[in-house]
Point group: C2
Chain length 246, copies 2
DNA sequence: CGAGCGGTTGAGGCATGTCAAGAGTTGTGG
DNA sequence: CCACAACTCTTGACATGCCTCAACCGCTCG
């Protein structure tokens, strides 16, 4: 692990409050790894031996069942993921693959579990992190059950706009194909939906989103802080399943 | 609070490992309340001032958006709920209403937060509880995105059968209307789906489920431990969103 | 240059929601 | 005790959202 990377990790909410010595100890037992693009680094069902941290690149979390698969989240630096499985010493519920060349830190789950039993500051951080992640997934479930695909697309685009500083125009952070799967629809359906939203204040230009009439689009999406945030929460972290907080 | 209720609460994973004195302290600041049927005791968006525990009766957690609503979980004794919101000192993401006359214990969130900073055994329990809940919601999201309604119904019925001790016949723990909403479909659609499953090893008689051909039904549902459990986990607890662990 | 891939578009079909009506059940008040 | 209201559940008819399959375009990369 490179020395200049430590501060970046230390800066995460999860690690920010623990003692210096304990942080060093945790990092000493961890190691970094670089993965090429498209590598399935985690397979659902495998034992969760490590907590992962994305340092560079990006990672897709996805789930498989039968012949189907769907993407559950996309993570960008600096984020942790699969904290819950590491803690429960249980099998991964999701698989992970790199979307590009990606650098990952691996922290042994057993060290993690030992650490929060020893460092009470750290255990409080873990609690806050998990609670935050839990709420994110609940929001996700709400949007899936309460909104139709059109509304999910519109609210997603508005949320991303907000993350881009409220800009009326920005570039999609992920491929449309992947976004479709994240939003629980097919690529074809997303394509048609984006086209249809041209009557509602949206314009697409390739991967570029242009919000031409925010009020109109908002009326359709009905953004709700109990689904879309804010509290965009403490989501510098990952695995709370934001698709690309970046 | 009745003295005979304390052991039931103490028996929950969440409270079982903390010191006697601290448990007593937490209970001392809590109080019990009885609600009539159909009362909306928690409204989404309100501040989460209390951790709740169902002692008798049953509670539906549901979410609203726009004009629509859907049920997210049904909780039965003895279960805690809305732990994450209490911890984050954040607004409830879901509403709760009683399905029958229900007795609830209310633990002030601030006391809860103070307690896990003080009692490290308790903080470990909270971590395990939250991690477990998180995984439950992820499983829920997976079933929503990967299975169609028919498959969700079939797998739900098989899971319930397992909870009923593997019995081929049992009575639905909730009304069909509510079950439909939990499974992300309309009541009409559930009704038709149940009828259609008669070709696949299922027979309904009112609220009674009769599995006539388990192999056939399983082939359709393709139960998966990464979605349906087991690890039916430590789900004596609630808010991991099982519908009626009974 | 050709293969592969993401994206788009069209045609068609199935799954699911909506609306409406009726049977059965439960609960309530006269 | 009965009448009535309210509710769940079911069924039918219909509309529509969404998926599937197929073709095609444009781009990238070997």
């Amino acid at each position: 692990m490179r020395p200049e990377e430590l501060p970046e990790i230390r800066h995460l909410h999860l690690f920010r409050d623990m003692s210096h010595a304990n942080f060093e100890a945790l990092m000493a037992s961890s190691y970094a790894q670089n993965f090429p693009q498209g590598l399935e680094m985690i397979r659902q069902g495998d034992p969760a031996d490590f907590l992962h941290i994305v340092l560079e690149g990006s990672v897709e979390l996805f789930a498989r069942w039968g012949g189907r698969e769907c993407t559950m989240a996309v993570l960008r630096p600096v984020s942790t993921f699969i904290l819950a499985a590491s803690i429960r010493d249980a099998p991964y519920l999701m698989s992970a693959r790199t979307l590009e060349r990606t650098r990952i830190i691996l922290i042994p789950s057993s060290d993690l579990r030992a650490m929060f039993r020893r460092d009470s500051e750290f255990s409080v951080s873990v609690i806050n992190e998990l609670a935050s992640c839990y709420r994110s997934v609940v929001r996700n479930a709400k949007t899936l059950k309460l909104r139709n695909s059109r509304e999910r697309v519109a609210s997603y685009l508005l949320r991303q706009s907000l993350l881009a500083g409220g800009a009326p125009s920005y570039v999609l952070p992920v491929e449309k194909r992947l976004l479709a799967s994240y939003l629980g629809m097919t690529a074809e359906n997303l394509s048609r939906t984006l086209r249809a939203l041209e009557d509602d204040g949206l314009k697409m230009d390739g991967a570029r989103v242009i919000i031409t009439d925010r009020a109109k689009l908002s009326a359709l999406a009905q953004p709700d802080k109990l689904i879309d945030g804010p509290e965009m929460d403490s989501n510098e972290n990952g695995s709370g399943l934001p698709i690309s907080s970046r």
